[in-house]
Amino acid sequence: MKDHKEQEAYQLEVRDVHLSFGGLKALNGVSTGVKRGEIFSIIGPNGAGKTCLLNCINRFYRPEKGRIMFEGRDISRLKVHKIAALGVARTFQNVELFGHMTVLDNIRLGGHVHLKSGSIAGGIYFGKARNEEMAFRRHIEERIIDLLEIEQIRKKTVHTLPYGLQKRVELARALAMKPKILLLDEPATGMNLEETEDMARFILDINEEWGVTIVLIEHDMGVVMDISDRVCVLDFGQKIAEGKPREIRHNEQVIKAYLGEEDLAYSRLGA
């Protein structure tokens, strides 16, 4: 019976989640919450359990203990495909696109849960099914492709594209899900400076223009510190800190986790 008001303020809340693989404790009692409309970053050294946490929210993994609440509803027992319909979209650390399809088809797939036409209407492709597809195509073109600046590649097959663009297409697909909350797993990994800045700009645009809550896992501290409203730090499956970027930057436990004790003094100079 903690502060009741604060609980309600969370759009997505993780309560005491445990997950282990054999003897390895991937998540050991993690509790945190994401407020509506904020950019919330999860950081931590490799193997800290960041992606595991996203996978639990997605129901990719089933947590052994604990609850995951989305808009006041426990989603930790739902089927994976049901989560998408609630408005939880995500991108992956290693791009999970459908390589043999065009960019446009990939993005269209994101809208799967919002389209209605079944196998009969789709096969006849007349009237309702066609109008629906066209309206959706317009939405994709005018809202998503335009926002992410991928007009020139819309008809290209995805596996022919460079990595940076694939990341962008994956973001586009997630946007086509018309998400309420967007889970981004290392969106800027493997990108050069310019691409990273583009990505950060897109994330901010999505957050501001669409009002989508963003949960971000990222190793690029520049991006994290610049755009996050709040940051949560995981280490060995446990939360070691949470707060505004400024607080996190000077948190000794965080610095220790990242750099080890002996580098503490050095990093203070750097920061």
Partner: protein
């Protein structure tokens, strides 16, 4: 020569036949198909009908194997279920052919649904074996459920009729086949460019990512099985009405393999490809038949050696095709088109 795509609205951009040029040639081709029965001999028409049935079954199998990525080795059995359903409904329950045809599809689809259930748990080669079991189970049923199927003697099926007009010749049946083929291909082509078709491909390419974006894997795999078997059932029903008899020997295991070969030779995941594949796999053996017959005849060669040789030639043709173009005939067709798009300029 076109120098680019310029479309002014989304509907134009989503059309299957993009240019006037394509539409013109398609129209010409359709006109040819309609005139064809009046100039061809019965043998050619017989082969055309067989191609038609093969196209329907192959397009159906491609939806399952090429698009959804679920290999089925039991497709001939589903065609058999359709064929027997039509035969039994027409002869025993006095159904008209036109009602029996969709019923055959539906019953085959139900059979497909049941066989498709393991697909949620087993994938790839394992599923392949599960569907193989279906093939043999159904074959067993066709032979041994004598009270319904009359065992190996089979059932004689009357030809379809419109009023008092009997579709009892190759020529008359040809138009029915052509109509059904256009329907089947058109439906499949539309299906794969809308929501359900995209879900199929998503399942094939990355089933986990498909689930994350909200695709119910089980439901769509079963849908794919059902639609695919529906196609097979319709093809089977048409076939038995054409040859006017149904016996278990019409739906052996090697027909399943042949359907699969059509899909692979034609190009997995391409509706047009399975049309090409079905034509290739039906026509080439017939042509080789004629050729080898002529060769034996004119050179007085030993028929014992040369007639079986056609199987060898056929087999090697398939292998050669797959080595030079693993993506199938559809890809060859695409390359030919791409070549002529720029022709006569090099770039």
């Amino acid at each position: 020569m076109r120098c680019g795509d310029f479309k002014e609205n989304y509907i134009k951009d989503e059309e299957i036949f993009q240019s006037l040029f394509v539409k013109f040639w398609l129209g010409l081709f359709l006109a040819f198909l309609l005139i064809f029965p009046f100039i061809a001999n019965p043998y050619a028409l017989y082969v055309s009908n067989m191609i038609g049935f093969a196209v329907i079954a192959a397009v159906g199998l491609n939806l399952l194997t090429g698009f959804t990525g679920q290999i089925s080795l039991g497709h001939a059995a589903f065609a058999g279920v359709g064929g027997y359903t039509a035969a039994v409904l027409i002869t025993r329950f006095d159904f008209s052919f036109w009602l029996a045809l969709p019923c055959a599809g539906v019953v085959a689809a139900l059979a497909g649904l049941v066989i498709g259930i393991p697909s949620l748990r087993v994938k790839g080669l394992y599923l392949c074996i599960a569907t193989l079991a279906a093939q043999f189970i159904f074959e067993f049923i066709f032979i041994h459920w004598e009270s319904i199927t009359h065992g190996v003697r089979g059932i004689n099926v009357p030809p379809p009729r419109i009023g008092s007009f009997l579709l009892n010749t190759e020529k008359r049946f040809y138009f029915l086949t052509l109509f059904m083929v256009i329907l089947a291909v058109g439906y499949a082509r539309n299906l794969v460019r809308t929501r359900v078709g995209r879900a199929f491909v998503a399942i094939r390419d990355r089933d986990l990512a498909a689930e994350i974006i909200g695709i119910n894997l089980f439901r769509y795999k079963l849908t794919s099985f059902a639609i695919s078997s529906f196609y097979a059932g319709v093809a089977g029903a048409l076939w038995v009405s054409f040859i006017r008899i149904v016996t278990p020997e019409h739906f052996p295991f090697h027909l399943s393999i042949q359907y699969l070969a059509m899909v692979i030779v034609g190009g997995l995941g391409s509706v047009l490809g399975s049309v090409f594949g079905a034509i290739f796999m039906t026509l080439v053996p017939e042509i080789l038949n004629v050729l080898s017959g002529a060769l034996v005849e004119s050179f007085k060669l030993s028929s014992q050696v040369f007639i079986p040789l056609k199987e060898v030639v056929f087999g090697s043709l398939i292998v050669v095709f797959l080595i030079f173009e693993p993506l199938g005939l559809a890809e060859i067709w695409r390359r030919v088109k791409a070549f002529f798009l720029l022709w006569p300029f090099s770039y």
